[in-house]
């Protein structure tokens, strides 16, 4: 059997997706299906004086118009829950339909159900809501100022939480005796996830059985079911089935439980008919949980040798109008804990204020907290290279956690299990031809032409979320293990049921490779089932670069159990002792007697026939496992970006982008490269183009793709990728996760490159996105 792990077999998902045969939620039709349109607030903050639904109801074909009153009358909890609690977290209620106050543009105030979606939209326009507009605050810093409009009565000063990690005093001491200090005020720009498929729900309630089937765009169907049971709809868990059909990307935005899926579910219950809702792109932009949106002051202290002695970070992190599902975790446990980067930093303190604003909620978006942390650390490292005179490479090298220091306990809770940072930097320098670039940079500086800049980002991330006990102690209201049920059929083909629900990553390909490799069979003999709460045992879903590390490990565990059981069956059939059996290349063999062997198929068939079978063994050949990781995984790497800046207009051109990533063992290199490409596009997009802008009244001015610039293929360049391999020591595959690495590393690399190019102008920082106008203004100020 040729090796399957580590080979770029083509994605089995692609033929259907590429030829347009993938079935997404909006492609599904149900008999008797009606269509919902949600009426949304045009104001960022307003009191609802009244709602007149009569004109909408009068349109022929309109089936129902529901408001908060109907939610109350339905006797359901009717609230959208938060799933991560911090100490002293303010958790103001988030009603699924606003009753008396709207708190962001896009807040749901009513829903119309009609026979077709055009009619539903027309009717939605006829719902007359009498608003009393109130003052709003959209900016995270302004929301903290005295006298700022309050988003929630029960969250004074708009503070959702006040959180810190690390040791303030030792940091103060480090700064008091520092030889060099650098500091920075930065904004981490608010982003809109922009999955290509907008969120969609098809809810089908059947009053005769009391069962509800919800097809929806979900990254974690079981979590959605649980939250709909515990909050929002309050339905018995066993009566709800959630199915995620093909899901066209999520980047985190489809983890969360939104009001919309509960609203559509309620409509279906009311009408006893299937009801479908698909967000328009405008709705998506107004209501998908956004990402980032930090305002940060940060400082780094170094000694005379350029060794870091202290890091101080103070961040105001926008939460938006309500706490989304995992929102409080993102700027805290996925941010403050990453502040050590790849460096041995003896003293760190990070303080974060979670802030309510009259905007869409902010929650996990590709990288979730780790891009923000990397941006802080790597921007400071760039400045430290300048301040110490060591330059960007040497200052990093000098501070890397040395390879013999692992496991390495940081000052901010995490214990890095493994790492070897120098080789990734070496390789990146070699790929990019650093010395030649420096020479060219110097010569261009002399001749008045376009300037070039070289930027580094040596990142670390904690992914493979996560040890359940750890996240539980940190406030998660859920475990973070993953499950796998592996069933070997009588004819030795295999079906895997995984709790890790794919939304474009290629789980079916990757997981079949794992099983094929471990069982020594053809990947084509392995089917992978995911994304259906009726088919799959409980699972936690796909986010935090966890599918391979946690979901894949659960699969390995089940395969191991199957091999153990198979050995007992084979031993019985071969009249040998199970301890003497080995499993190799798809056969059970008696050690030392190569001719005494049975193929997996012989054993599987007997497991189901059970005609000639051990007395003490149950028939069947399947195993279910729940794998809870021992630690996070810690991918790392060094990225180098080279840009050219036209100082006359401020335009930036990407010239090169080299990324050396260490994601541990690689299952499918093509899929890993694809994940990096996508992540890099999004991270570069954040650095150069993407920006969710609210005006002072809380209107989203970048609400359409005419104003919000997602990266397009012609904006990007071919990426130069390579890897080092430091396997994860605590999971059976040695894999670490790659889904977020590109988005985590790249913003800092790009900004560092631009700032490097502009060094002759004395420019040390420009906030993202680095639009030409901002660059031009910086050059001319």
């Amino acid at each position: 059997m040729a090796r399957v792990l580590g080979t770029s077999i083509k994605r089995r998902e692609d033929p259907a997706l590429i030829t347009g045969r993938g079935k997404y939620t909006d492609d599904l039709q149900a008999a008797g299906m009606a269509h919902a349109a949600i009426v949304r607030s045009p104001y960022a903050h307003a009191r609802i004086r009244g709602i007149d639904t009569s004109a909408a109801e009068a349109l022929p074909g309109v089936l129902a118009v529901l408001t908060a009153r109907d939610v109350a009358a339905a006797g359901i909890p009717g609230v959208v829950p938060v799933g991560w609690l911090l100490p002293d977290l303010k958790t103001p209620a988030h009603p699924m339909i606003a009753a008396d106050t709207v708190r962001h543009v896009g807040d749901a105030v009513a829903v119309v159900v009609a026979e077709d979606r055009y009619l539903a939209r027309d009717a939605a326009e006829r719902v007359a809501v009498d608003y009393e507009p109130l003052d709003a605050v959209a900016d995270v810093v302004a929301a903290l100022e005295d006298g700022a409009p309050a988003v929630h009565e029960d969250a004074p000063g708009n503070v959702a939480f006040d959180w810190e990690i690390g040791d303030r005093e030792s940091v103060d001491a480090a700064f008091a005796s520092a030889a060099h200090t650098v500091e920075l005020d930065l904004r981490n720009n608010r982003l809109i996830p922009h999955a290509i498929e907008p969120r969609a729900v098809l809810a089908s309630y059947d009053s005769s059985t009391g069962e509800m089937t919800i097809h929806m765009t979900s990254q974690n169907p079981h979590v959605h079911r649980l939250l709909m049971t515990l909050a929002s709809l309050g339905m018995p868990e066993h009566k709800v089935r959630i199915v995620a059909p093909e899901v066209g990307g999520g980047f985190g935005s489809k983890i969360h439980h939104y009001a919309d899926e509960a609203i559509v579910g309620l409509c279906s219950m009311k009408l006893d008919r299937p009801v479908k809702w698909t967000a328009t792109r405008t709705e998506t932009n107004l209501t998908d949980a956004h990402g980032r949106d930090h305002s940060t002051h940060c400082e780094l202290a170094l000694d005379a040798d350029g060794r870091i002695t202290g890091l101080r970070v103070d961040t105001a992190a926008a939460m938006g109008a309500y706490l989304s599902t995992f929102a409080p975790a993102v700027p805290t446990y996925l941010y403050g804990t990453l502040m050590s980067g790849q460096y041995d930093i003896p003293a760190i303190h990070c303080h974060v204020t979670g802030v309510f604003t009259h905007t869409a909620p902010v929650d996990a978006y590709r990288g979730a907290g780790r891009p923000e942390a990397t941006y802080v650390v790597e921007r400071l490292m760039h400045l430290a290279g300048e301040a110490t005179g060591l330059g960007p490479v040497e200052v990093r090298r000098r501070n890397f956690v040395p390879p013999d220091a692992f496991p390495y306990q940081t000052q901010v809770a995490l214990a890095y299990d493994s790492g070897n940072y120098g080789p990734a930097m070496d390789r990146a320098l070699e790929m990019i031809g650093y010395d030649d670039l420096k020479t060219e940079q110097a010569s261009r500086r002399g001749n008045g032409g376009k300037l070039i800049g070289i930027g580094f980002s040596s990142y670390i991330e904690a992914c493979g979320l996560a040890p359940s006990a750890v996240v539980g102690s940190l406030g998660a209201q859920a475990g973070q293990w993953e499950s796998a049920d592996v069933r070997v059929h009588p004819t030795a083909s295999v079906t895997v049921y995984t709790g890790s629900s794919s939304h474009g990553q290629g789980h079916e390909t990757t997981f079949s490779q794992i099983v094929a490799d471990k069982l020594g069979i053809d990947p084509e003999a392995v089917e992978v089932i995911h994304g259906d709460t009726d088919l799959v045992q409980f699972g936690m879903g796909t986010y935090g670069s966890r599918s391979a590390a946690v979901g894949g490990s659960a699969i390995v565990k089940s395969v191991e159990k199957i091999i153990e059981k198979g050995k007992k069956i084979a031993a019985h059939l071969l009249e040998a002792s199970a301890e003497d059996l080995e499993y190799e290349d798809g056969s059970f063999r008696v050690a030392g007697s190569p001719d005494r062997a049975l193929a997996l198929g012989d054993v599987a068939l007997q497991a189901y026939l059970a005609h000639n079978y051990p007395d003490d063994l149950e028939p069947g050949l399947s195993a279910t496992s729940f794998y809870d990781p021992a630690n996070f995984t810690y991918p790392f790497g060094t990225h180098v970006c080279v840009v050219e800046v036209d100082t006359e207009t401020g335009s930036i051109e990407l010239l090169r982008y080299a990324a050396v990533d260490d994601v541990g063992n690689v299952i499918n290199p093509m899929i890993v490269d694809g994940q990096l490409h996508g992540g890099l596009a999004q991270g570069i997009g954040q650095a150069l183009w993407e920006n969710a802008v609210y005006d002072d009244s809380g209107q989203l001015v970048s609400g359409s793709l005419m104003d919000y610039a997602v990266p397009k293929i012609h904006n990007l360049i071919p990426f130069e990728l390579d890897r080092t391999t430091t396997p994860c020591p605590h999971n059976p595959l040695g894999v670490k996760g790659v889904g977020e690495a590109g988005a985590i590393a790249s913003p800092a690399a790009v900004v560092n490159a631009v700032v490097d190019a502009l060094a002759p102008f004395g420019i040390s920082h420009i906030d993202m996105p680095l639009t030409p106008e901002k660059v031009w203004r910086a050059v001319n100020s």
Partner: protein
């Protein structure tokens, strides 16, 4: 993104289209639909009737006669970009059309729709003004033509009357010794021009005999820059920079990506670069 209810009528001839326009108040003509339909989906336009003129072959095509090129209003951007006739006589027109959107947009969008919509970020208007094109309109009462420079009146406002159809544009061919260029500073989100500079210069015996520069994206309508100072010069970089810096806009437009001041600045830089490119091609 669902339009309000509307009726759809397809016209089989220009006369029929004119009749339908008369018949239905507030009706909208639809050519490629690439500006109208987005407006309708956003419900910024809610015409009760849409009159599809997309199949009127009489309004399609590019031909040259007597030193002038006629381009039918339903000619697509793709056909303009690929036209040998334009490449020979007004290359800057084809060049600008090639910068519009992506291949799908160029295959559907038409010159008539583009200029009738008159988006300030459109690539075509500055070129037509530069070339001194005339825009031809037909109504039940007859035909008329208007100079491109007068056609664009304000943001999304043109000289097309409610009962009129734009039939074609006539573009004078560029003479020998003339180089032209269109340079676009693209908006990263919409792909429209933040600034688009169209320039032409004619050189005889090493001296400039005529020069023109029109910049789009800075004002509500294309801004003509007085570059007559170039006539008689050898079109040195300095002379070009000085001429382009004459760009002036009373009330420049701006958005969250690029402010008015910045657009004026980029207009000067792109104007200079477009003039230099035109010189190098002359």
């Amino acid at each position: 993104m669902y339009p309000a209810q509307f009726d759809y009528r397809r016209a089989g001839s220009v006369d029929e289209a004119l009749g339908l326009l008369q018949e239905h108040e507030d009706a909208k003509l639809m050519a490629g639909g690439h500006s109208l339909i987005p407006m309708m989906k956003l419900r910024l336009a809610q015409p009760p009737v849409v009159i599809d003129i997309g199949r009127l072959d009489e309004l399609k095509g590019i031909s040259e006669a007597g030193g002038s090129v006629r381009v039918g209003s339903l000619t697509t951007h793709a056909d303009i970009a690929a036209s040998d006739v334009l490449a020979a006589h007004c290359p800057v027109f084809a060049e600008a059309a090639g910068h519009i959107g992506d291949a799908q947009v160029r295959n559907r969008g038409t010159i008539g729709g583009n200029i009738a919509h008159a988006d300030p970020g459109s690539d075509i208007p500055p070129v037509l003004v530069l070339l001194g094109a005339s825009v031809h309109l037909q109504s039940p009462s007859g035909t008329r033509s208007v100079a491109a420079g007068d056609f664009f009146q304000d943001l999304l406002m043109t000289d097309v009357g409610e009962d009129e159809i734009l039939t074609h544009v006539d573009v004078p061919a560029l003479g020998s010794g003339t180089g032209s260029a269109y340079l676009k500073f693209e908006h990263p989100a919409s792909g429209y021009a933040v600034v688009g500079a169209a320039a032409a210069v004619t050189v005889q015996d090493g001296r400039c005999t005529a020069a023109g520069l029109v910049v789009g994206g800075v004002g509500a309508v294309p801004t003509t820059v007085d570059v007559s100072s170039l006539v008689g010069t050898d079109l040195s970089d300095d002379a070009i920079a000085a001429a382009a810096s004459g760009l002036d806009a009373e009330d420049p437009i701006g958005d969250i990506f690029a402010s008015g001041d910045y657009r004026v600045h980029v207009g000067k830089v792109y104007g200079k670069r477009a003039l230099a490119a035109a010189r190098d091609r002359a």
